[in-house]
């Protein structure tokens, strides 16, 4: 076989595998039956509009200036979160959200909280180097 032909075959096989993997993932995303209300969607939009991820993480992904918010809803409760959004902190600006916007953002944080546990202490480390959630 000519070298160019071999390279083309390897390249095509890899590309085909990648596309198959990609489209398989798109069609079989892990969560199918979650309740995602219009209010949660609005909350997510507010999260993005204010670029909350610049400082905060969800599942350890995001900024480093503020705490991970994955399970803050169940840990702190909506009232404390609401107060922090309204007054801000030394580092975080006070966001002038309306009552409705704040309520939607809280719905989004509640939704995140229900998807799982982000605390690394909850992971069980296995001998083969993989991890499992307890």
């Amino acid at each position: 076989m000519a070298p160019d032909f071999q390279k083309t075959i390897v390249g095509l096989l890899l590309t085909l595998s990648f596309l198959t993997y990609s489209f398989y993932l798109y069609s079989s995303l892990p969560v199918r039956d979650a309740v995602f209300t219009i209010d949660v969607d609005r909350g997510k939009a507010i999260w993005q509009q204010h670029n909350c991820t610049a400082c905060h993480q969800v599942y350890g992904l995001g900024g480093y200036l503020g705490p991970d918010l994955t399970n803050e809803y169940s840990k702190r409760g909506p009232d404390i979160i609401k107060a922090m959004i309204r007054t801000g902190t030394k580092t975080m600006p006070a966001f002038n959200l309306t009552e409705e916007e704040t309520s939607s953002l809280l719905s989004y944080l509640k939704h995140i909280d229900q998807t799982g546990i982000a605390d690394p202490r909850s992971f069980k480390i296995k001998l083969d180097g993989t991890i499992d959630q307890e």
Binding site: Y26, F36, Q49, L65, G116
Partner: protein, 466 residues
């Protein structure tokens, strides 16, 4: 072929110069962001962290993209011995990119965000960027013609150009409710796209690096060797399937994590091996001729090894569970984007921008001093992030967890070193950029072909290959 004019700046050079300005600016935003770590509320009312972070990230990401595009365009012409298929398309692409980048940076100042982690801007700005990239794709394919008997760097460029478009489009699937309507689904697709997107711009940069090494050594066989292609396909394999190491702690499909764990990050080791072998084979005379460009590659070589050590550790889920969400991840990103990408791009910029007739002999003292300052600072910067990351990892695993704000206070000494090193890193990079830009401004287009490493140079739009 375009007529040569005395003061005309070729479009690929403009891409690189625009990238340099963004790098210089992006470093300032980075330092301001760093200061907000150590001085609580520092200029919060003017530029709060939610604005500073995207200003910094987008500036430096666009530096990487613009400089990589400019380098590919230049080396593509040197490789084919012909001008680009359409210099006009390249100019249109530059105008689109320049206008969009300015609009994106301004949008952050007005509080308009895309709100995505980590490279974010309003989704409408993605449209002109896609259009500009399609022009680049057309120009690239039409310029290269066929992949028949092409060296590995052409395959790398092709991969980078095609996969950047794919992954960039994929990163906007969230605008559709099907992808957006659950945080886990959304984050799975988001990190699939971003993980591979980094691999795609790495392909552009590593391809240019391979071309430059071939040019310096004069050894064309290296880029056609079986080893080079084996390493390229390993890199491509990683680009496609190793992105899951970003989301080991996300409750998504287990098979994504297992695949990523198995697909090791061998691409950087392999590149380091190539650089090492190449270095040994270059003659002293040629090495001296390309001294400045060579030295940036040599420094990147060191950073390849440091970054790969961290990358391998972080690709093991059992270790990743400790480092995830800590500054160790930032250290890895900084090592890869500054230590490898930026230093390699500076090597290319040094090589490309000197392809003109210079009034003064060499960029000189500022470049050498800046080079040393930047590398030493980067090492301190990187180590301070690792220390901060380890301290945060200890806090994350502590059963009697102190509040987040207290933990941040405990990390303060590491942040102070991080900011100090960030400032000197910025000064070092500025010195390098200042030397390169002033040196370039005192040059003019040369009409006399010069022979370098088996390639005849006139200027970037008029080159012939042996």
């Amino acid at each position: 072929m375009e007529p040569l004019t005395r003061n005309k700046i070729p479009t690929p050079h403009l891409f690189i110069l625009a990238g340099m300005i963004l790098l210089a600016t992006g470093m300032v935003f980075g330092v301001v962001g760093g200061l907000q770590y150590v001085i609580q509320g520092f200029i919060k009312s003017i530029l709060s962290f939610d604005k500073i972070r995207p200003l910094h990230v987008s500036s430096v990401v666009f530096w990487i993209i613009l400089a990589a595009v400019g380098s590919v365009m230049t080396y593509l012409q040197q490789h084919t011995g012909r001008p680009l298929y359409s210099p006009r398309l390249a100019r249109i692409q530059l105008l689109i990119f320049a206008g969009t980048v300015i609009a994106i940076l301004c949008s952050y100042c007005f509080g308009v965000f895309g709100g995505r982690e980590y490279w974010e801007f309003n989704p409408w700005f993605a449209l002109p960027l896609v259009l500009g990239w399609i022009l680049f794709l057309i120009n690239f394919i039409a310029s290269i013609g066929s992949l028949k008997n092409q060296p590995v760097y052409v395959w790398q460029w092709m991969t980078g150009v095609v996969f950047f478009l794919f992954t960039f489009l994929e990163s906007y699937l969230w605008v559709f409710p099907y992808f957006r309507n659950n945080i886990i689904n959304d984050m799975t697709v988001q990190w699939k796209s971003y993980g591979s997107m980094v691999g795609s711009w790495n392909m552009l940069i590593y391809g240019c690096s391979m071309f430059l090494m071939t040019k310096i050594s004069g050894n064309k066989d290296m880029a056609h060797s079986k080893m080079a292609f084996a390493l390229y396909f390993t890199g491509l394999f990683n680009l496609m399937f190793n992105w899951g190491h970003h989301i080991y702690t996300l409750p998504t499909h287990a098979f994504i994590k297992h695949i990523s764990y198995l697909v090791s990050m061998t691409e950087l080791v392999i590149l380091g091996r190539i650089i090492w072998l190449w270095k040994a084979s270059v003659s002293e005379a040629r090495r001296h001729f390309h001294h400045a460009a060579y030295r940036f590659i040599a420094a990147a070589d060191v950073w390849v090894f440091l970054t790969i050590l961290l990358a391998i550790a972080m690709s093991i889920p059992a270790i990743n569970v400790y480092t995830h969400g800590t500054h160790v991840t930032v250290a890895h990103t900084m090592g890869a984007t500054i230590g490898i990408n930026t230093l390699l791009l500076m090597a290319m910029a040094t090589d490309i921008l000197k392809d003109r007739e210079h009034i003064s002999g060499a960029p000189g003292g500022w470049l050498n001093a800046g080079y040393k300052l930047a590398n030493v600072s980067l090492l301190v910067f990187w180590l301070s992030l690792i220390v901060a990351g380890i301290l945060k990892a200890v806090w994350q695993m502590d059963r009697s967890q102190v509040p987040f704000s207290n933990m941040m206070l405990q990390l303060r000494p590491a942040f102070i070193v991080f900011v100090g090193a960030g400032i000197t890193l910025m000064v070092g990079i500025w010195m390098v950029l200042f030397a390169q830009i002033t040196w370039y401004s005192r040059s003019r287009v040369t009409k006399t072909p010069r022979r370098i490493g088996g390639i005849h140079h006139k200027e970037s739009t008029a080159v012939t290959v042996d």
